[in-house]
Structures are given as structure tokens and as C-alpha cells.
């Protein structure tokens, strides 16, 4: 605990980022409780209602309460971000660990595949996936997870390559430990820290990607409230007449991504052994 406070004092920006993320997660988890209205109920009577006592940040063109949509939108963004980050980082880590440790032709092949994946533009891939599989929440998560895999795999592989040469790994071989066991007991646990930092850093970008995809109509479909799609629905037509439709989703996206980046940066600095005293 004392260590946490020590770090909190040295990295105030990281703390700010952490607080933003905590607020984000709490909002998402307790969306049902916090949101004043059902985000999906339409009511033409309240279409484009400006912020008031009833609708704290106004209503959209279909009469749905913006605040409730924003709150539930957090839940969607969090689900997609967590899902994509976990799947992408998880698969990427497994790939990086095995290819780095085994080496040889396996490594060569995996590396070339990773390079090809990285060469494809994200949006093209997402388009292909949603076009072939159909737009849905799950498909969006998959579409965002896939480009993460080669990135994570490369970083973990680089880490594994250097860990493999360390004396304690050699000592394990000298004892007669089998390769698989060495990888599991000695190599992998020492890649967890960089993996966590990487995953946290990806969090911000996955949220942004989901927003972009939804903005283009390729991501989360109706009726799920998505911040990105709320932006795309309103940005062109209603910027002047009903600015609350554009400002709040935009600010929310920026804030959460910013918070994730601040927190990820601080975490990376803390876990970097060279930053020690």
C-alpha cells in the first residue's frame, strides 16, 4: 500500500488517468442503475430536445435521452475494448512466446505472417470481416482484436529472445529442465509485466478504433448505443442546431483515450527497471 502511495505521488498524471478509467469502468458496470432512462426508448415528441431538467444533456433526433445513451455507450465501449484487448493480447502473447522460444522455421513463418497482418490497413480488414460475417458486437470485437495480435506478438517475442539468454535460463537447462517447463516457469512469468503495459497502452487505441468503425457504420450496429455511431449520426446534420449531440460523445471518447494513455505511460515508467533509484 505504501508503495502505491509512493507511486501516486510521483506520477500525478498517471493517477489522473487511473481515476478517469475508474470512473469509466464504474459508469459502464452500473449503467443500468445510473442511467435515468432506457437508452433505446424512442419518443418522437422529445426529438432534439435541448438540455433541460428532464434531459440533462438533451435528447437525440429520435427522442432518446442522451445521458442514458452516453452511459450505456460506456458499457459498449468498455466491452469492446476489454474483449478486443484480451483476445488480441492473449493470442499475441501466446504467439510471441512460442515463436520466440522455439525459434527456427516456426519463428520465421510466424514472423512473416505477422508482417503481412501488419501491412493490411485496419479499416480494410474490419470491412472485410463485417462484410463477410455481418455487423454485430462480437464481430466488431474480433475485427479490432485481429490487428492487435501481430503488435503484441512482436513485443513479447523480442522480450522472450532476450530472456532466453539470461543465466537463470541456462541454469535451468543445466539442471536438465525440459524446454516446455522452462518456458512456462522461467520465461513467461517475466513477460507478464511488459504484457500488462502493452495491453493498457492498447486500451486507448481499441476504444478509438471502435469509435471509428462505428462512425463508418462498420462497427457496433443498431440499436446498441455506441459513442462513435452517435457521432456519425449527428455530426453532419446537427452540429449547429443540436451541438449537444456531437460534443458529449466526442469529449467522452477523447477523455477515456487520454486517461488510458496517461495511465499506460505511468505504468510503463513504473515497471521499467531502469527507472529505479
Amino acid at each position: 500500500m505504501r508503495e502505491a502511495l509512493y507511486y501516486a505521488r510521483r506520477y500525478p498524471l498517471g493517477v489522473a488517468g487511473a481515476l478517469i478509467l475508474i470512473a469509466f469502468v464504474v459508469t459502464a458496470v452500473f449503467a443500468n442503475v445510473i442511467a435515468p432512462y432506457d437508452p433505446l426508448t424512442t419518443n418522437a415528441r422529445f426529438s432534439l430536445a435541448p438540455p433541460s431538467r428532464h434531459f440533462l444533456i438533451g435528447a437525440d433526433m429520435m427522442g432518446r435521452d442522451m445521458l442514458s445513451r452516453m452511459i450505456h455507450g460506456a458499457r459498449i465501449s468498455l466491452a469492446v475494448a476489454l474483449g478486443a484487448t484480451c483476445i488480441g493480447s492473449g493470442l499475441g502473447a501466446i504467439l510471441g512466446l512460442t515463436s520466440g522460444y522455439i525459434g527456427g522455421w516456426f519463428d520465421l513463418i510466424v514472423q512473416r505472417i505477422a508482417e503481412i497482418m501488419q501491412a493490411l490497413p485496419l479499416l480494410v480488414m474490419a470491412l472485410v470481416i463485417t462484410a463477410s460475417l455481418g455487423p454485430s458486437l462480437v464481430n466488431t470485437i474480433i475485427a479490432i482484436a485481429i490487428p492487435l495480435i501481430p503488435n503484441v506478438a512482436r513485443v513479447i517475442r523480442a522480450n522472450v529472445l532476450s530472456l532466453r539468454e539470461l543465466n537463470y535460463v541456462e541454469a535451468a537447462r543445466a539442471v536438465g529442465m525440459r524446454g516446455r517447463r522452462i518456458a512456462l516457469v522461467h520465461v513467461f512469468p517475466n513477460t507478464i509485466a511488459p504484457l500488462i503495459v502493452l495491453a493498457t497502452a492498447q486500451l486507448g487505441s481499441t476504444i478509438l478504433t471502435e469509435a471509428s468503425l462505428s462512425f463508418l457504420g462498420l462497427g457496433v450496429p443498431e440499436p446498441y448505443p455506441s459513442w462513435g455511431r452517435m457521432l456519425s449520426d449527428s455530426a453532419a446534420e446537427y452540429l449547429r442546431s443540436a451541438p449537444w449531440l456531437v460534443i458529449f460523445p466526442g469529449v467522452a471518447i477523447s477523455l477515456v483515450v487520454f486517461g488510458a494513455n496517461l495511465f499506460g505511460d505511468a505504468l510503463r515508467d513504473i515497471l521499467d527497471p531502469r527507472q529505479g533509484d
Binding site: 543465466n167 537463470y168 541456462e170 541454469a171 543445466a174 539442471v175 536438465g176 512469468p189 517475466n190
Partner: protein, 320 residues
């Protein structure tokens, strides 16, 4: 007397620069025809400067690096190309202690687990008995049972080396490769670890290959000494002889260069010039000839063979 360890003509080459398609352009002859033997309870000190290949020799003996050619006989068994499955059982009898106390221990494992792991790997003893064995090992190296629960970063450099030694002892080896075990430690701590290694040798009848660049330490711990230069042994004899009567010019230069902790001793300033050449581009003939004060034309042409100049004293030099 059969030797515990008998090495004949050991060689190891590494690919140097590789071309565009992975073809090898030149080779590093890290170990270039090394032969020596170590008896039970004896220490062979392997001395040399950087790039001489001594660390490669140590690792090759344990098959951590695969020898390119030559033979390694351990307790009469030819282990040079033994498949890992059969080698595993023999691994219990030969272990290694490394130079760097900081990368020798997994930072995420507790000290007790590090030392007990070899026992676990070989299925020796159940958990409770393993604990007892580990406690005994800790006591042998001068650490307390309470320290078994700590992580490596909570120990000093000298203490970490003790943990490494305890780990090496856990399987009851006959032979330990000590690769510069005290070079990274403070002077006052070096004495502790050197004494520990020597005590263990007396208690268990252990044999050591003691790799070091520090001549004074080597003189203290070794029974026999071999001097390496660019992959070859240039002089090989017992400790007393080599320090009293060094014959190879390189051995003499090494000894002349060591600063002595006595202000009254004035070192002869005329010593070896030039840098240690790279193991990729080795001079032809005798590798030492560019830096040798007595080099002759023959030294540029012919590679000197390690031969017995006096009984038990082998030197690789044309002019001795």
C-alpha cells in the same frame, strides 16, 4: 587414475558474418582444439582475457553449447553427443555457477524455490522432505532458513552467489564449472565466496573448472592452471610451476601486468603492447606473434603445438 573429466581436442566455431541468404561468410573459432583433464577433488584454473574462449569451454562441457568437434569424457562416459534424454541423468553430477549474480536468479522466484527446483525437476523427494533438504543447503552456504522466503532482489551480490552455489549443490554434483564466480563481487565479499567454494571442495570432494581472469584468485584456488589465448591453450601445468616458472611469453606478460598490492614492488613497465585481436580475424601461425617480444619468422607460419617441455609442463611455443 581415471580422470573425472577428460577433454580431447574440443572445438567450437560460431558463424560470424552471414551473407544475404544465410550463408556463412566467416567463422569465429571460439574454442580451437582444447585438451585437458581434471581429477576428483581437483581444481583446474582456466585463465585468459576476453575473447579467449574460456567461457565457451565451460558451457560446452555442460552441453549448454554444442561442441563442433572433439570429445568430452565424464566419469568415463562420452557425453559429447549424448542425446538429451540420456544426458539428463548425468546432468545431476555436473553443474555451473555464473559470474553475474543479478541474472543468475529468476527475479520472480523465491530463494528457497530456486534452490529446490532441481530437486523438483528430477523428482527427488516430496515437498516436505525437499524443504528440509533446502534448509540444509542454505545452512551449508551460510544462509538462514528464514531467507528461503525472500526474493533475489532482497539479497546482496555475495548472498546471491551463495544461492547460486546452493542451487548447484542441490543435486549432489561431482563437478562444477565456476565461470568467473567472484569477478562481479566486492573484494571483501570475494574472500567469503572463495572460502566457501574451497570448503565445499574439501567436504564433498568436488572438482572445479575455475574460469577467471584474476591471476591471484586462480593461484589461490587451483591445483592446475591452463592459460588460454584466442581459443587455444598456450601453457598448461600445475599451479606452483606456472607461477614460479612461466614459459610462454603470453603467460609472462599476463603475470607482469597484474598490479601487486605492495607499493614497494615496482612493475617492469616494458610490457605487452597492442590490443587483444578479435577472434574472427586471428593472426596466422601462432596467434600471439603480433604482440610477442621474441617472435621469429617461424611464428608467423607455423601453429605451435602444445607439447610437454618438462614433465607435467606443456607449452605451445616454438621458442621454448
Amino acid at each position: 587414475m581415471t580422470m573425472l573429466l577428460d577433454v580431447k581436442d574440443l572445438r567450437k566455431t560460431f558463424p560470424g558474418h552471414t551473407g544475404l541468404f544465410g550463408n556463412v561468410l566467416d567463422r569465429v573459432h571460439a574454442v580451437d582444439g582444447i585438451s585437458f583433464s581434471i581429477g576428483e577433488g581437483r581444481t583446474l584454473g582456466l585463465v585468459g582475457e576476453s575473447g579467449c574462449g574460456k567461457s565457451t569451454v565451460g558451457r560446452a562441457l555442460l552441453r549448454l553449447i554444442e561442441p563442433s568437434s572433439g570429445s568430452i569424457l565424464f566419469q568415463g562416459n562420452d557425453i559429447t553427443h549424448l542425446p538429451e534424454r540420456e544426458l539428463r541423468a548425468l546432468r545431476r553430477r555436473m553443474q555451473i555457477v555464473f559470474q553475474d549474480p543479478y541474472s543468475s536468479l529468476n527475479p520472480r522466484q523465491r530463494a528457497g524455490d530456486i534452490v529446490a527446483e532441481p530437486l523438483k525437476v528430477h523428482g527427488i523427494a516430496a515437498a516436505a522432505e525437499r524443504r528440509v533438504l533446502t534448509e540444509a543447503l542454505f545452512a551449508r552456504v551460510g544462509l538462514t532458513a528464514r531467507q528461503m522466503a525472500l526474493y533475489p532482489h532482497q539479497f546482496s551480490g555475495g548472498q546471491r552467489q551463495r544461492i547460486s552455489i546452493a542451487r548447484a549443490l542441490s543435486l549432489g554434483p561431482r563437478f562444477i564449472v565456476a565461470d568467473e564466480p567472484v569477478s562481479a563481487l566486492d573484494v571483501s565479499v570475494q574472500a567469503q565466496v572463495i572460502n566457501l567454494l574451497m570448503d565445499l571442495q574439501v567436504q564433498d570432494g568436488l572438482s572445479y573448472l575455475f574460469i577467471s581472469h584474476n591471476l591471484a584468485v586462480v593461484e589461490h584456488v587451483s591445483h592446475d592452471v591452463a592459460v588460454m589465448y584466442l581459443g587455444r591453450i598456450v601453457e598448461y601445468t600445475d599451479k606452483a610451476t606456472i607461477f614460479a616458472q612461466p614459459l610462454h611469453p603470453y603467460t609472462k606478460a599476463l603475470m607482469a601486468a597484474v598490479p601487486v598490492a605492495d607499493p614497494a614492488v615496482r612493475r617492469d613497465k616494458k610490457h605487452v603492447m597492442g590490443d587483444v585481436p578479435s577472434p574472427i580475424n586471428r593472426p596466422p601461425g601462432c596467434h600471439f606473434h603480433p604482440r610477442c617480444p621474441i617472435a621469429r619468422p617461424q611464428c608467423l607460419r607455423d601453429e605451435p603445438v602444445l607439447r610437454e617441455i618438462q614433465p607435467g609442463h606443456r607449452v605451445a611455443c616454438h621458442l621454448v
